[in-house]
Amino acid sequence: METLNYLNDGHGLASWLLTKDHKRIAILYLISITGFFAIGGFFAMLVRLELLTPAGDLLSAETYNKVFTMHGVVMVFFFLIPSIPAVLGNFMVPIMIGAKDLAFPRINLLSWYIYILGGLFTLTAALSGGVDTGWTFYTPYSTAAANSHVITAALGIFITGFSSILTGLNFIVTIHRMRAPGMTWFRLPLFIWAHYATSLIMILGTPVVAITILMVAAERALHLGIFDPALGGDPVLFQHLFWFYSHPAVYIMILPAMGVVSEIIQAFSRKNIFGYSFIAFSSLAIAVIGFLVWGHHLFVAGQSVYAGMLFSILSFVVAIPSAIKVFNWTATIYKGSVSFDSPMLYAAGFIGLFTIGGLTGLFLAAMGLDIHVHDTYFVVAHFHYIMVGGAIMGYLGGLHYWWPKITGRLYSEPWARVAAVIVFIGFNLTFFPQFVAGYLGMPRRYHAYPPEFQVLNVLSSAGASILAVGYLIPFTYFAYSLFKGEKADNDPWGARGLEWEIPSPPPTENFTVSPIVTEGTHQYVHPSQEAKLA
């Protein structure tokens, strides 16, 4: 007879849709964000197909603009932002600190419903004719000129923002109040520190973008003069408000991925992290300084030179905590006991791609250079290195790492390694040529482009099709493992951490007896062994 766990504890749709179990809610999120990822990916493929040729021949200009807008909106607000926190964080945060659930299980379920409601609004906008403002909704285009479903799409983002706020709130209270006895702050897994920092951004930043979006809707529907100069407004004000959230939002995407990578590097090097407190505090530093760099999006918008210089120097400063993390991860591998299982391949890929993505961000922080590359494909390449090379690699790495825990099944490791390599190759082929196209001067959001950019765009489109294959393979072997996968024991990787001490899949209450913590995570060399070694 099968032991009772969260998956077989209750059957039927209602037991899932009305669940208060953080693990089941994580599964609800997993299914829905996978759906949104497929939708966003479909739009990405349309973009890459259109850009195979210089002329705008596959889609009309209007359709193309709607397609890239939906790609951005869906990927940013409905996939990247919720991905790691709402799926892996939801599942793992309580378990990793020795708690039975999040602090507010009902609010947790509510956040999923809000997310779905917001998603439905945005999809309605897409299906009823689309929205063509770009995911950035720049004014006065979005409020005065765009002739598409701006308000519906904007309301979708407004609504889904509350899901983000509630998740952040839940994590912060849980991490403060529900740690198991002995789980002191400096014994917390780094995944938890990353989620703590992320949650701070979620609850402090999201309300600002919510208000901004409401103002866009108000100006569009009621002609209140806020951003449109014809009504006495200031169009650049929108950019300040928008980026005040949307730059930190990039850290909402990347910080949890950094947390995942910290866990994976330790587990697959069988070694505790090098410089624990530097990694932990660098997450907080990124969350705090990240709020002070938004103006680097406005270097060519006529911002005061001195304001620009402040934003520029702070943008360089915010890169330092990221650099500290990369060096510490690298040092962690030194003298480890390293295995090349698929999660480790994703983590190593993350380190390489994030390093390139982060360093090319400095190009954009350098004011004189940003003038040239601003709004070109250089920017597109840079943020895809962070969001796809960073956040999605981290997400996939975490999904592979914890899949046996979440489902109780093992997937095909050889296939997983093949897929990781295909993703890495496809990613670089897709996005590296865009750095070159960007420095050559190809502007972003162009439906048609001068013929000299074609070779680079063909390479990019070819890479995108390889990348798509790389994403489809895990989907297949994950699905297969659910039915035919070998059963996983408590700790298939030989890793350390509370989540690996409980059965796979975990029982509904996570811990039958509340654990008492006596040391930090990933302590592979125990005091007794140390004595022996000495």
Partner: protein
Amino acid sequence: MFKNFPLFPEAASAQAGQVDAVFFFMVAVTAFFSVLIAALVVFFAIKFKRKNEEEVGADIHGSLALELLWTIIPFGIAMAMFVWGAKVFFDLSRPPVGATEVYVVGKQWMWKAQHMGGMREINELHVPVGKPVKLIMGSEDVIHSFYIPAFRVKADVIPGRYNTMWFEPTKAGTYHLFCAEYCGTKHSGMIGSIVAMEPADFEAWMSGGKAEDSPVASGAKLFQDLVCVTCHLSNAQGRGPVLSNLFGHEVELEGGAKVIADEAYLRESILNPAAKVVKGFQPVMPTFQGLITEEQLLQLIAYVRSLSQPGAAPAASTNSSTPPAAGGRN
């Protein structure tokens, strides 16, 4: 498709070399650290490959010396990048005095330019090689961005205010002009050519323009047609302030505040006359919002500028409120 396949953009302005120098420095730093990190990760992973299932890693927790090392060195490099980038930006945002001025208006989806000599162009801009050119730019509808990759310059063109940019072409030729800020359906069609010409050729081309088409002449005509002239007399007897020798000078407002009469102030005073009334005058002027186009506004401002002593006028400022701004006063 393989015939014309550049990997690096042409450098055709005095600024291009400076921007490229920062770029190459940053590419070198990026390449160095990316290769270093990748090599270390791969080297460590292979050297410390797990030998048996029971093996665990060494008991190492960190090193303050190393942490300081890899904090301070990247910080130093980052600050060098900041200073260099800011220096280039400063130069790019300060047009030299005496630069040839051209008015540019962006609208969905075309670029219009008007030279001081009277030549007008659409989706083309002719400029002389070896001379600094300053563009004073406004938008009729949404935000656009004027971008010349070969010159490494770009500036947003924003409705409701003027932005400036400047460059000095160094090589004759025809270069791409792109709109870089997404502006709607035909955004990717809002492109054109920058034609850099040898000074003699440029003079010949400019002589095709008629003096009465110059912005100043057009502005003077508008000043008559819109009956501005009935209140703004050349002596102090009018209902409105005297406009000669106004541009670039300080004006005292009702309530005691002071403001410099620059493009932004003149623009505001034409479109929203009650906003900042000059001390001693009544707010009787009607608004011209919606009655004149962006181009006509620029022409009126050009005319008012022409009423000041030559050389007395400061450079156009970009920002309507807080100086100093990009392209701010010299």
